[in-house]
């Protein structure tokens, strides 16, 4: 059979798009490697986060805020389709600042972004130490905490239950999951595409290349261009602790079940998901500098995952000029943008035209034009 859409890559980005297509009635195949493939979701802190994102790229700031505005409804759909809690909360997110210098750096960033032409007015604001103490009555803050920036619209979610909910929703909508396949080739096939894997060939009218670090190999086969490199993220989780941190922070978040999640690192170019004691210790020290009581918490696990990154850190969306119907989608913020990927992006792919508000996220921006 020929599918309407084949999505290559069953991670957070690909599965969101595949779910969005299937939920809109398209016959959709999700071609994926399997549980051993690198999954950015495994190194995700679970923040649905707008703070400081999109400096120099107002379209990214707006796309992020748009996704966040869609998230509450999307989260309800995910919880209902999967029949399980995905840990979604909209309580805002804090970015803690240690020392006046960090606070000043954040203040300057917010100021530059506030003045950025074309960007949406951001509700992110600075809170001083006293305000922070009032927001976190059960926490004794470390001496060096000067304050924080607070984005009231931001949310958090548990990334792995979310990914599972996307799969469940995709299958419930009639999507066909084709795991344990490594795609080696994409070719044109009449008016559509043939996706050739080590197991079989899948035929589809449209193809979405959303396989993260696999994109640079596959995308050029259908005239797409998306430079991506790996970034390693290390994470720590503690034992379950009594609730103390009601608002998630960047780098330290207590999930409702009580676990405190610390991290992640951002290590450019590292493609092996291994931890290092030095990095784990640095992250743990910073978390303990924010909340000294964490020094007494037991660490249950430390691990690493690999996430895709573009040269400027902003997402890439493109429809192929030479092979219309072939799309690429990649970003570093698969959780934050999940609602936009499952919603307006999937809808646009089915309609055959990417949304105007992601036009600036086209990979043409990486072309160097010589005079």
């Amino acid at each position: 059979m020929t599918y309407d859409v084949a999505v290559i890559g069953g991670g957070m980005v690909g599965t969101a798009i595949a779910y969005g297509c299937a939920a809109r009635g398209a016959r959709t195949a999700l071609v994926d490697q399997g549980d051993l493939s690198l999954r950015a979701a495994r190194a995700n802190a679970g923040l649905i986060y707008s703070q400081g994102k999109g400096e120099g790229m107002p379209a990214y700031a707006a796309w992020t805020r748009h996704s966040i505005s869609l998230w509450p409804t999307f989260a309800e759909a995910m919880a209902s389709v999967s029949g399980r809690d995905i840990g979604f909360r909209q309580r805002g997110v804090l970015a803690f600042c240690l020392g006046e210098e960090e606070l000043e750096t954040r203040r300057a960033l917010l100021h530059r972004m506030h003045n950025q032409i074309g960007g949406p007015a951001s509700p992110v604001h600075l809170v001083d130490r006293r305000e922070l103490e009032a927001m976190l009555p059960d926490v004794r803050l470390g001496e060096r905490v000067a304050g924080a920036t607070y984005s009231p619209e931001d949310c958090d979610v548990n990334a792995l239950p979310l990914l599972r909910a996307l799969y469940t929703g995709f299958l419930a909508a009639g999507g066909v999951h084709l795991p344990e396949r490594t795609v080696g080739r994409i070719t044109t096939d009449g008016g559509g595409f043939a996706i050739v894997s080590d197991r079989d060939t899948v035929h589809a009218d449209k193809v979405v290349v959303a396989c993260g670090l696999g994109i640079p190999t596959l995308a050029p086969m259908v005239g797409l261009h998306a430079p991506v490199h790996p970034v390693r993220g290390q994470m720590i989780v503690t034992e379950r602790l009594a609730p103390m941190l009601p608002i998630p922070g960047s780098g330290v978040r207590q999930i409702r079940e009580g676990v405190v999640q610390i991290g992640t690192t951002m290590e450019e170019g590292e493609s092996v998901p291994a931890t290092s004691v030095a990095d784990l210790a640095r992250m743990a020290s910073r978390a303990a500098a924010v909340i000294p009581a964490l020094s007494a918490a037991r660490i249950v696990r430390g691990w690493a995952g690999i996430r895709p990154m573009t040269p400027d850190g902003f997402p890439i969306y493109q429809q192929s000029p030479s092979h219309p119907g072939a799309y690429v989608a990649v970003c570093h913020s698969g959780v934050t943008l999940c609602a936009a990927h499952a919603g307006p992006l999937a809808e646009a792919i089915l309609a055959g035209r990417l949304p105007d508000n992601v036009a600036d996220l086209h990979p043409d921006r990486f072309d160097v034009h010589t005079a």
């Binding site: 004794r140 602790l241 009594a242 103390m244 009580g258 009581a293 964490l294």
Partner: protein, 97 residues
């Protein structure tokens, strides 16, 4: 569930009740040998939990031991006079536990 002919000469208390243990028992083993299967209520659903893997991996057997919360009883050797209590909910960091 388990019985053994010689339950040992050490004593510890579980929820105030005195129970016997052998030298070399883990706390979890001593509790199971005395028919005690529930050491805590999970902070997530409130459901009862008790020793399961007996080798430090599953974290199901947590209890309050001598006032210290979230102790893995399967990884803790019994000592004479030890006080063990069920743990309800997660450990707090502020209480010195």
């Amino acid at each position: 569930m388990f019985t053994r002919p010689d339950n040992g000469s050490l004593t510890l208390t579980f929820e105030g009740r005195t129970i016997a243990a052998r030298e070399g028992d883990s706390v979890a083993a001593a509790l199971l040998a005395n028919g005690i299967q529930v050491t805590r209520q999970t902070p997530v659903s409130g459901a009862s939990r008790g020793p399961f893997c007996m080798m430090g991996a599953c974290f199901e057997c947590l209890a309050v031991v001598d006032g210290r919360a979230s102790v893995q009883t399967c990884m803790t050797a019994v000592r004479d006079g030890m006080r063990v209590e069920r743990q309800n909910g997660a450990r707090g960091l502020g209480t010195g536990a």
